[in-house]
Symmetry: C2
Subunit: 408 residues, 2 copies
Amino acid sequence: MKLMQVTDPENVFAIINENFAFLESEKIALERSGSRCLAEAIYSPENVPDFNRSTVDGYAVTARDTFGAGEGMPAMLEYAGEILMGQAAPSINSGECWLVHTGGMLPAEADAVIMIEDTELTGTMLQSFRQVAPGDNVIHRGEDLKMGDPLLFPGHRLRAPEIGMLASLGITELNVHRKPVVGFFSSGDELVDYSKETLETGKIRDSNAPALLYLSEQKETLVKYGGILPDHYETFLEKSRSMLEEVDMLVFTGGSSVGSRDYTARTMQELGEPGLLVEGISVQPGKPTLLASCKGKPVLGLPGHPVSALNIFDIFGGAIIKRLSGLAGKEFIPTVKAVLARNISSRSGRTDYVRIKLEDADHGLSAVPIFGRSGMLRTLAEADGLLTVPASKEGLSAGEQVEIRIWE
Amino acid sequence: MKLMQVTDPENVFAIINENFAFLESEKIALERSGSRCLAEAIYSPENVPDFNRSTVDGYAVTARDTFGAGEGMPAMLEYAGEILMGQAAPSINSGECWLVHTGGMLPAEADAVIMIEDTELTGTMLQSFRQVAPGDNVIHRGEDLKMGDPLLFPGHRLRAPEIGMLASLGITELNVHRKPVVGFFSSGDELVDYSKETLETGKIRDSNAPALLYLSEQKETLVKYGGILPDHYETFLEKSRSMLEEVDMLVFTGGSSVGSRDYTARTMQELGEPGLLVEGISVQPGKPTLLASCKGKPVLGLPGHPVSALNIFDIFGGAIIKRLSGLAGKEFIPTVKAVLARNISSRSGRTDYVRIKLEDADHGLSAVPIFGRSGMLRTLAEADGLLTVPASKEGLSAGEQVEIRIWE
């Protein structure tokens, strides 16, 4: 029996980045651009704000008119009127003040704003019980964004703050990378569609397809489902070939038996050059994972066990999707800190993903490992997340601080 | 001038849970149920698997036929044939073995599977070089899910593992809580729609609306945008009243000036009992936040400054949305660990949210605070996430371990 060549997770990530390119770009409306990655650099076309604005409700003044003012000796200013929101500010004369609202425009000659609570208005005479320095309570023209400044670079993922920033500049369209279209096939003659109410003996429902389709959509892809492939090689190959034409990435699930695994591997070699890149990953669960590049498109063969399939798609499928989506730069993986409740044994040289249930404890959170075969979905549904035991370790001890990656 | 009554963040969360109820439930197809919260308990209607299955490629046997077998003294078994995937298994006689594939059905009398690599087949005679114990390499009927077992409880949020588990049971429809419909208004006479190319003096673009709408959609809501409300109380009230009829939650943004803030507060009192619940939160930025309950619906008044508006909507708006969505039980907030690069000062009694840029450092990640006024979107777009300085602290020191909540 041929031994499986396994690849380290880090090498798999490197192979992904070497073999697959960003998808092409498309023009998209700003309000539809959230979570997409920029395919262009953005420079500020304007100054933001485009005029000096007040940061408080108060009186716009020339700062030197208030110098020396204090609790016992107010500065006296002539009240010239109110600047309404959204209106161009009039000019200010020496010794005058204008009422301005938060965000409102300042007269060109005003260089500070006195907060309303530091003043007292009697008729048209304003007493200021505090002195202000030039710039106090003012956002200057271009202070947020200066015309011509580089703001965002290609590969930057757009979040709410970026959408707000671009909106403030009147940018309504952007070039972003296309959303990957991911095609899914299940395989195995024992599988029937999950909607099948009554099962014949020996059959099981295809539970991977709906779970993976949802996970893929959560990762900002469009999905296509090709159904259950029969254990018949010509059909398997034919259907895969025509699906590959329509998608940016192809995923096979099921086929954990040697037979279906062979079909998947053979298909990967047939679909296009260079074919198979990875024929196993040194992880547990999920070792019998296949990855190929066919005509420049990634083809991923997931192990059939549901826990392995979801794990591997989340971690390695997720990395492929990010690559296709055009993400550049560093990515942070947030975790929840907890204290390990039991010893975990692990084989050195293999990265282990351990399902964890988080429970309240005196010291914060306790990470309770859930043991169970990788075929058991219940163990994953009970888990809050995964603990990674790195390949360099031979297990972890109860009481150790660990970081849990939460299942979204 | 009336002093603002501020409420602690923890009390705001408590007020949210006391005042707002889960939305009603609806029946939904399993494949559309991801991220929804269950409105019913789910019990297993079947055994999963419904038959004993092999976890490996190998030979199904009666374990006692292999007792005593070893490298030098193989057990001899009669090869009876292959059990194809998806087919009902035949019965097994003493001394016989059947070839089974991973996931395949075992004969009722077989109680173990010998891995294929521990055997050698010559004609119809199989030599097993290892003994197996009853249960070896077998998943038993009902081992994953037993008929009648409680699986999931009301308020449980459905993720990919739950979708897979329910699919394996043939469950195609579920009762889940409705998605909240969130209505948004901007306000302030200085605002114009962000798509406006050329700005008149004194005007600024409404950058909050597109950023908040995206953030709300990310939080699994449906959104409605009502446009920019004028600084005219009767129109403000009228439009708010009619929007409230159509949504489950209403959000006002802008109006950081005392005038618009007053309109928002007055509107909240007018829209329905009990009206205003929170008229300020002891946080920075975001203190001038308003929260009301009107006819059982939450109405949130965000500060106008973009950074504050996004912060507050993310944290407190997010808590309201989770409540309406029917989420029960604990929620984990994953963070990224880093070492603080500079001292941060903070006022005791106030919770501070500090924008953080994460940078690579020798020790891992360095958390660099981004200072800048809360009106400046650039400072948020540059940030990877937020650091919370709790109310009990008077700042944090450079070199401290901190946890950063990443902006998605």
